[in-house]
Amino acid sequence: MYKNRKAIKALLIFYVIILAIMLVKAPSFFSVDNAMDILLNVSTTAIAALGMLCVLLVGDIDVSVGAILAACCTTTGLLAKAGMPLIVVIAGSMLVGIVLGLVNGMIVTILKLDAIVATLGLLSIYRGLLIIITKGSWINGLPKNILNLGQGRAFGIPIPVYIMILVAVIMWFVLNRTEWGRNFYAVGSNPASARLSGINVRKTRIIAFAVCGVLVGLAASIYTTRYGGIQSNTGKGWEMTLISSAVVGGASTVGGEGDVSGVFLGALLISALGTVLVFFGIDALWEQAVQGLIIFVSVASYAIDFKKLKSRFVKGGAEND
């Protein structure tokens, strides 16, 4: 009911087409190394996109995630350089994420602002403050043992991939089997009826923003340790990557629709596209155009499917999705 089956179907068709073309044009695409590379690339995006999913589910949107990523990356970098153990570094990064998420949620709900406007303002505030505090310096030379988080492998599979799977499982459980998750869907589908059925709408929306912040914080520690250093402009435009991952994966921007598997497939498509285009031999300059086209086509195809379904429904077919 909450799943956007059309989105997932359309995505799977996309994957089949892409893989079929790859099989003919570039068989070298199908190597274990390449698969691991793609999975490693998708891990940070997928983790954070699941956070974005929560915010979208309650009918809000968070465009400040790029700035939150930068803040959490800086926290990770500073804690790691101070010689803290890995667990403290990750916890610190997630703590910064959750605090900024809570700030977002409270400003949106208590001041009753449009989420897009409020987080837009907060985006420039966070970014400005971050650069004032760090003086725009880059962070490099993190200790080796910390870098294991982003660069290490266990049984031949990169560690971030395990973390991604763990997060996906937890998020699936939270969204489908806990009160919090059901509240997200209820609030996004119809805030008024959610309130009448006794759900604390404001609290639910704040929780969604906090979950987004915490997952961005986790993604940030992987991101930092993977690249071994961060620049002051980390995460610029990242909000668009996350929003398009979620939306291509079938999440609705008006709330109440979307699920973990769809968002994972969406994030995989968005972040694997770069690699695919390289194998196609397409100039990197055209990458963004192709990416835009694919987002456009996939989103449009869901809508067309929906129309067909409606006409079938009107004719009296007892189709139920």
């Binding site: 406007v117 303002g121 004032i132 987002i295």
Partner: protein, 314 residues
């Protein structure tokens, strides 16, 4: 009297503008000189132009995130058209047409496929910017010198941009306030379903709003390119954010049906003045972004507060 005035968003904006001007002129000696202000109108005109298109789309209850990318695409097209030897005037016209076509694409997809404008224009934002990058090869393209006038010239004592933007604002204001077009857009924004049943051609009118938004973005691309004398695909990054800020700061409600064109213009002046003033006073851009972010949030919160008081009194 005071109660009545504080209810009026436009009056509040003027007060904010006066405060901003006062603070800025204290920060820097150059700020309040005629030459400086006249030069500032070039930036103000450009910024307010992109806010105007966004205001129109927000009036219908939509949003257009593709404006910054459309600006870059029209800029690159202008450069390429000139490069292959099309006369300058025609090149400008073609670039503007591309803006209108891009807007039409947005509008038709939003209306016909019944998709949220946020998603559609998010996709075309990537698409337009990607095409601009691809066709330009990512490098800057020089434009012929006879086009410099559009960005750097003056008509009488006034900069060209100021004249163009003022004309555009007047034309749009006449169409919105003196013809049915404004009423149609407003009723679509308030309640699309009711608009359909009232016999308003919703698709036709909505597409017109998106076409205008694309057209103004392309116009900005042309003016901007002529001011900086070269075309490049990375122009207009994050301009969609500026545009939304201006429209909302000016008094627009993102739910649709309520905007203020005069408010948007003043909001554009305020934002440009803050940026220029702080730059002249040698304050870091980071501090500027914090200040602008704060102003946006406070302004919208204040607007909401005023609006909620209004409904209670009624």
């Amino acid at each position: 009297m005071i109660k009545k005035l504080t209810k009026n968003n436009f009056f509040i904006l003027l007060v904010v503008l006066a405060i901003v001007m006062g603070v800025m002129s204290n920060l820097s000696d150059y700020f309040l000189t005629p030459l400086y202000l006249l030069n500032a109108t070039r930036f103000i005109s450009e910024t307010s132009l992109i806010g105007l298109g966004m205001t129109l789309v927000i009036l219908t209850g939509g949003i257009d995130l593709s404006v910054g990318s459309m600006m870059a695409l029209s800029s690159v097209c202008l450069g390429l058209f000139c490069q292959i030897g099309i006369p300058s005037i025609l090149a400008v016209v073609f670039s503007l047409l591309i803006g209108a076509l891009g807007g039409m694409l947005n509008g038709y997809v939003v209306c016909k496929l019944k998709l949220p404008a946020l998603i559609v224009t998010l996709a075309t934002m990537e698409l337009f910017r990607g095409i601009a990058l691809g066709i330009s090869g990512g490098s800057a393209i020089a434009i012929p010198e006879n086009l410099y006038f559009l960005g750097q010239g003056d008509i009488g004592p006034l900069p060209v941009q100021l004249v163009v933007t003022t004309l555009v604002y007047i034309i749009v204001a006449v169409f919105i306030y003196k013809t049915n077009f404004g009423v149609y857009l407003k009723s679509i924004g308030y309640n699309e379903e009711v608009a359909v049943f009232s016999g308003i051609r919703v698709t036709w009118n909505k597409v017109k709003a998106y076409v205008l938004s694309g057209f103004f973005a392309a116009l900005l691309g042309v003016l901007f390119t002529c001011r900086v004398s070269s075309a490049k695909a990375d122009y207009g990054n994050n301009y969609e954010m500026d545009a939304i800020t201006i429209a909302v700061f000016g008094g627009a409600s993102l739910a649709g049906g309520k905007v203020s064109f005069a408010g948007a213009y003043i909001a554009a002046i305020i934002i440009v003045m803050i940026r220029l003033g702080l730059t002249t006073a040698a304050i870091q851009t980071e501090v500027q972004s914090v200040i602008i972010g704060l102003i946006l949030i406070l302004a919208v919160a204040f607007n909401n507060f005023v609006a909620s008081r209004k409904t209670v009194e009624m």
